[in-house]
């Protein structure tokens, strides 16, 4: 037998597979600072489209030499001609992203994860509860719902910001608040003199909410401390577990369900999440 017999047997099958870690190149079309720490970037992949995705899904954005971070897509898939990311400077990578301007090239992987189940929301009333930067993924959902407004029942938006000046997407927020087909409620933690609205945590807005729980889906995203109180309110409204959706944030390295950083008990936040229904996480003590 020839000595190379073993070598001939070597599998080449995997070599044709794409490297999961290889990003595609996107270009920044426009960068708009929203607040002192948040910037909205509009991007487009250089070759090809971002592809189909659901509100709530995220991409892995690279700063070569520094690192890679998960960022939610904050524009709706119904909007064509690119996608938007809203980035808060929270550390080394996010800072570097926010220093980029129009024209800059950015390596991006994704979209990844499971977004909001918009099919399930069809024909239902939808409650959107967002806190702070949590508005970014929610904006995608809101845009999506509004683009197909007729398919959904009542839309409630409950939004909490730290201070009046720290509100993201101010123009859009303004337009939502003035639309007759949306119940828009907003609150701030710390008011200033000009603020006429509600003061208190986002849960303080539930007081104004009237929904038919069985026909309502809720979507929640915000800082970690927000989840439990909001859950309690939703349970109080008696929403079914399978109709409450939470978008979670965890440390992520690969985004592919391998590196282990994002596990919520046994669930990969990147793959089975970041959006999970309460029915799925009810038994997971680490979720909230």
């Amino acid at each position: 037998m020839s000595s190379s017999a073993l070598e001939e047997e070597l599998t080449t099958e995997y070599e044709d597979w794409t490297n999961l870690f290889l990003p595609r190149t996107a270009q920044i079309l426009k960068s708009t600072p929203l607040t002192a720490t948040d910037t909205l970037h509009r991007l487009r992949f250089q070759n090809g489209d971002i592809g189909d995705y659901k509100p709530g899904q995220f991409v892995m954005v690279s700063m070569l030499g520094i690192g890679e971070v998960p960022i939610s897509i904050c524009s709706s898939p119904t909007h064509i001609g690119g996608f938007e990311l809203c980035v808060r400077s929270a550390g080394t990578v996010t800072q570097a992203i926010n220093e980029l301007n129009a024209g800059a090239l950015v390596p991006i992987r994704g979209p990844y994860g499971r977004g909001f189940s918009t099919e399930k929301m069809v024909g239902h009333d939808v409650m959107i509860i967002a806190g702070g930067i949590g508005l970014a993924p929610m904006r995608s959902l809101i845009q999506y719902l509004l683009d197909q407004r007729s398919q959904y029942g009542e839309i409630w938006i409950l939004f909490g910001a730290k201070r009046p000046g720290e509100v993201l997407f101010q123009d859009e927020v303004l337009s939502w608040s003035s639309r007759p087909d949306i119940h828009f409620l907003m609150t701030v933690d710390i008011a200033n003199r000009a603020w006429r609205g509600n003061v208190g945590p986002v849960t303080s807005l539930f007081h104004y909410v009237k929904v038919d729980p069985h026909n309502t889906c809720a979507a929640v995203c915000g800082p970690p401390v927000m989840y439990r109180p909001v859950l309690r309110e939703l349970q109080h409204l008696e929403l079914p577990d399978a109709q409450m959706f939470f978008s979670f944030e965890r440390r992520m390295k690969c985004g592919l369900g391998k590196c282990g950083h994002c596990l919520i008990n046994g669930h990969y936040c990147c793959k089975e999440g970041p959006v999970l229904s309460y029915a799925e996480i009810r038994e997971l003590p680490e979720a909230m």
């Binding site: 037998m1 000595s3 017999a5 073993l6 070598e7 047997e9 070597l10 599998t11 080449t12 099958e13 995997y14 070599e15 597979w17 794409t18 490297n19 999961l20 870690f21 290889l22 990003p23 190149t25 690279s62 070569l64 030499g65 520094i66 690192g67 890679e68 929270a90 550390g91 996010t94 024209g103 800059a104 090239l105 390596p107 970690p224 944030e249 965890r250 440390r251 390295k253 690969c254 592919l256 369900g257 391998k258 590196c259 282990g260 950083h261 596990l263 919520i264 008990n265 046994g266 793959k271 003590p285 680490e286």
Partner: protein
């Protein structure tokens, strides 16, 4: 027991000949002693056939490193001004041979392959794994008082996942050839003849004898472990363990089924090129689950230890119907704080009974 395709024997004195021949076929990894005088072992790439030591109890690091290197380049990049090029890293097409691996570690490889195939297939791992020939070695007793493979059912080989299995039957090894590749791994080497009847008899005797050497160390029903974990989620046992644990990460780094990694970037001296690589990580380290802004989802060592145990005997059981713990005992050996897996599993069992009674 799965019937092998073919049986052969190899005189112990001829091991060297075979090892040397195999070295010519691919990259051979086998256990070697850490130092001439030291009874601790490590899987290493063999360059001197004499260094192979089949008479080893266990190794410090698992053979996982032969397929998943500690540090592995994922992509390379080159950046000039606002331009960059990215290139992926295709794993080298090469035959790897892992020689003398114990059955528990073969089980562990099977587990890793399952995980890496699940969902987004990890091509780098799978490509290397597919081109790795496994030449296993049946154990004749527990490695030491830390192992409990018999309880996890891993002192017997799995149905698949190896090419050849060796059994020490005195002056020679009995070889079970399980795959087509196996035949090529022994070729028609004169030192590896077909077996005579008395070899087979002796081998069967040896298997029967070995069975008796494995005492049952975990008297709980392991199928119930996920439920026991659940029942003990808030048990004070985790506080006790968390107090002892110094979060050195050793238990996970030596585990043959752990696969968590970190991803980092590093620039070349040119400051233009660079690579993104992954490196073994441990869920026991403080920053593992920390996110920007100071929130850490597993801040307490207690929570991290519980997470580790659940990742061994609860989550994978629920997801793949497999245990990620193969009972090799490496974590217990490596733990400087004397946290013992066997103890933890016993406690889970015992406490659950209490729990269920009350």
């Amino acid at each position: 027991m799965v019937e092998a395709m073919e049986y052969r024997v190899l005189l112990k004195k001829d091991i060297r000949v075979w090892v040397e021949w195999l070295m010519g076929k691919g990259e051979l990894h086998a256990p070697v002693a850490k130092s001439a005088s030291h009874p601790q072992y490590q899987f290493e790439k063999i360059s001197q056939p004499d260094t192979v030591c089949l008479d080893y109890a266990t190794t410090i690091l698992p053979p996982k490193q032969c397929v998943q290197p500690v540090r592995e380049t994922l992509i390379r990049f080159d950046r000039v001004a606002n331009q960059f090029t990215l290139s992926d890293q295709v794993p080298e097409r090469r035959l790897h041979i892992i020689f003398g691996i114990h059955t528990c570690d073969i089980h562990a490889f099977n587990f890793l392959n399952t995980v890496m195939r699940d969902g987004n297939a990890d091509t780098q791992f799978l490509a290397r794994s597919a081109n790795t020939a496994i030449i296993g070695l049946r154990c004749r007793q527990h490695c030491d008082d830390k192992s409990f493979c018999e309880s996890m059912g891993t002192n017997e080989p799995p149905d698949t996942g190896y090419d050849i299995l060796m059994t020490d039957i005195g002056d020679r090894y009995f070889l079970e050839l399980a795959t087509e590749r196996a035949a090529k791994l022994v070729d028609d080497l004169s030192c590896i003849p077909h077996t005579g009847d008395e070899d087979v008899v002796k081998w069967r005797q040896m298997l029967a004898d070995s069975k008796k050497n494995f005492d049952r160390r975990l008297s709980i029903n392991i199928e119930e472990l996920p439920a026991y974990c659940e029942a003990n989620y808030h048990s004070p046992m985790w506080d006790v363990i968390g107090k002892k644990c110094v979060a050195c990460g050793s238990c996970t780094l030596v585990c043959p089924t752990c696969y968590c990694f970190d991803i980092r970037d590093e620039l070349d001296m040119s400051l233009q090129g660079g690579e993104r690589y992954r490196v073994w990580d441990s869920c026991q380290l403080g920053e593992f689950a920390a996110v920007a802004g100071g929130v850490n989802f597993r801040r307490d060592r207690r929570d991290r230890q519980r997470h580790r145990v659940h990742r061994k005997v609860k989550y994978p059981k629920e997801r793949y119907n497999l245990f990620a713990c193969v009972g090799c005992g490496r974590c217990s050996r490596a733990c400087i704080a004397d946290i013992q897996m066997l103890d933890i599993l016993r406690q889970l069992g015992a406490k659950s009974h209490e729990f269920q009674r009350t």
